[in-house]
Symmetry: C2
C-alpha cells in the first residue's frame, strides 16, 4: 500500500490547543509544510475571523474545516433557537475562512433527559433548519458521528450509518451541501465501516480525521493517540476512503492531556508529519 | 408502564466483588429476597463449583448466567487452543451450576494486532468450536456485545446486530443453543436497538443486564451507575425486551470502583432491590 500524499496533511488545532494561539499554529503549519488547518472557534475568536482568514491565506493554508457547529438538542424552544443562531454564526465564519466544511458535533441529551430518540429528532430538525443557509453560503455541513461513548453528552449521532441516513433524509439529491466526517477514532470499531464509506461516496465524504486508539485508554475524552501508537489500521481505512473517491485532506486531531499537550508544539507537528507518512 | 416483577431481579456478583466472597453473596441475595445470581469464575474458584451449586440450591437461587467464557482471539494457534479449553471448562462449570447460560465476552485484538476483522473471525471460529459441546451439556452460549469502547481489549463484537449475525451463521436453526445478552450499558446508544431486540426474539434473548450510564463517566471500565442514576431509559428498553417475548431475569451488574464498591454489601443490595422496582 503506497503512503499518503504529504500535501494532504492538515492540523486540527485541538492537537496543540494547550501550547499555541492561532497565529502560532498557522506559523507552525507553514514552518513544517503542513498545508491544511482546521481551527476551533475558541481559537478563532481570539484573533477575529477576518484576520485569521488573512493569516491563513498569507501562509498558503487551506482551511479544511471549522470546528464546530452542532449541539442542537436543548431542553426548551429558546435553547434550541439559540443553538440555531450559533450555528448560523458558525456558517458565516466558515464562509469567511473559505472552509471546506463546517464540522457538526450534533450534541447529546439535554440536561436531565433520557430521551435519546427525541434528541436525535432535534438534531435532524436543527440541521434541516440551517441547511439552506449553509448551502447559500457555500459551506457544506459535515456531520461527524462521534464514538458511542459520547452519546449522552456530546453527540447522539454515533455511527456512519446513522449520519448517512440523516443525509438521505435531508439532502436526498446528494447535492454536496450535507455530508459526513469519517473520524477514525469514532468509527474504527464499526464492523460495517468499509461498506458505509463506500455508501457515502465522494459526494458525502467531506473530511477524514486521523489519530489512534490507545490500549489502554485512560480518559474518555483526552487520551487520544498519535498515528501509529494505537490499534487502528489507518492505511486500511485510508484505502477505503480513496476507493470511495475521497481526495481531500487527512486532518490530525489529537486530544491528549497527559502526553501531546505537554510537549513542545514543534515536536508535536514534526511527529504528526512523520507519522502521517509512515503510519497512516 | 408497569414496574418489573421483583422476583426477576438477579445479582451479578461483580456488583459486590470487592466486599464479599461467594458465600456472602449467596447469603446476601437470600436475605434481600433476590432470586437470581450470576457468579464470576474467580469467585467460584474460591469455593469449588459443586459447593457453590449446592449453596445456591440450598438458598433457592437460580444461576442466571456464568461469567464468563469467550476471549477467543490470540496471537497463535496455541493461545487459541488454550482459550477453547478454558471455554470447555467454563461450560462444565455452567452445567454444574445449572446456569441459564454461559456469558461470552468474546475478546479483543491479540497483543500487537490491528486486524479487527481477523479477531472477529477468530471469535466466530472459537464459538463454532465449542457450540456442540455446550449444546450437549445443556448450556446455552450467550454472546454479550460489549460497548465499542472495549473493541480493542475486551470484545470485538460491539453491536447486537453483529452478535445476531453470528447467531445466524452458527445456529441458523435458532435451536436456542446460541443467543445474546442485552446489556443496557453496552447497547443503550444504538439507534437500531428496538429493532434488534425484536429481531433476536425470545429464542435468542438469553439475558438482560441492567445498570446505568453516568454523565460524566470518569473511567472506561469501573464507573457504571446504579439504575436511575444515569441517562438510560431502562423501562423503555425493558418494554422492548418484554414485547420480544423475554421473560427471564434482570441481572444487575455494576462495576463501580469509587462508589458502589466502597459501600456496605447490604446497602448495595438494598439499593439494587429498590431501584429495580422504581427505576428499571
Amino acid at each position: 500500500m503506497s503512503g499518503p500524499d504529504p500535501d494532504l496533511l492538515s492540523l486540527n488545532t485541538a492537537t496543540v490547543r494547550e501550547q499555541w494561539n492561532l497565529r502560532q499554529m498557522i506559523e507552525g503549519c507553514a514552518r513544517h509544510r503542513i498545508r491544511g488547518i482546521a481551527p476551533w472557534r475558541d481559537k478563532l475568536a481570539a484573533h477575529g475571523t477576518k484576520d485569521a482568514a488573512r493569516m491563513m491565506r498569507d501562509h498558503g493554508l487551506v482551511c479544511t474545516g471549522l470546528c464546530r457547529g452542532g449541539m442542537f438538542p436543548a431542553s426548551d424552544r429558546k435553547g434550541r433557537k439559540a443553538a440555531i443562531e450559533d450555528n448560523l454564526r458558525a456558517i458565516e465564519d466558515a464562509a469567511t475562512l473559505e472552509a471546506k466544511c463546517l464540522v457538526l458535533a450534533v450534541g447529546g441529551l439535554p440536561p436531565g433527559s433520557k430521551d435519546i430518540a427525541g434528541a436525535r429528532e432535534m438534531v435532524r430538525d436543527g440541521i434541516g433548519e440551517i441547511l439552506d443557509h449553509a448551502r447559500g453560503s457555500g459551506v457544506p455541513l459535515a456531520i461527524e458521528p462521534l464514538h458511542p461513548m459520547y452519546a449522552a453528552d456530546r453527540a447522539c449521532v454515533n455511527t456512519l450509518a446513522q449520519a448517512l441516513d440523516l443525509c438521505d433524509e435531508l439532502d436526498s439529491a446528494r447535492s454536496g451541501a450535507l455530508g459526513v466526517i469519517v473520524g477514525v477514532y469514532h468509527v474504527w470499531w464499526d464492523p460495517e465501516l468499509e461498506r458505509l464509506i463506500e455508501r457515502a461516496g465522494d459526494k458525502r465524504l467531506l473530511g477524514y480525521h486521523i489519530c489512534d486508539w490507545l490500549v489502554p485508554t485512560t480518559d474518555l475524552l483526552l487520551d487520544r493517540g498519535m498515528m501509529g501508537d494505537g490499534v487502528i489500521d489507518l492505511p486500511l481505512i485510508r484505502s477505503w476512503m480513496e476507493r470511495a473517491g475521497y481526495r481531500g485532506f487527512h486532518e490530525v486531531e489529537i486530544l491528549s492531556k497527559n502526553n501531546w499537550w505537554k510537549r513542545e508544539g514543534d515536536e508535536v507537528l514534526l511527529t504528526c508529519k512523520l507519522r502521517h507518512e509512515t503510519a497512516s
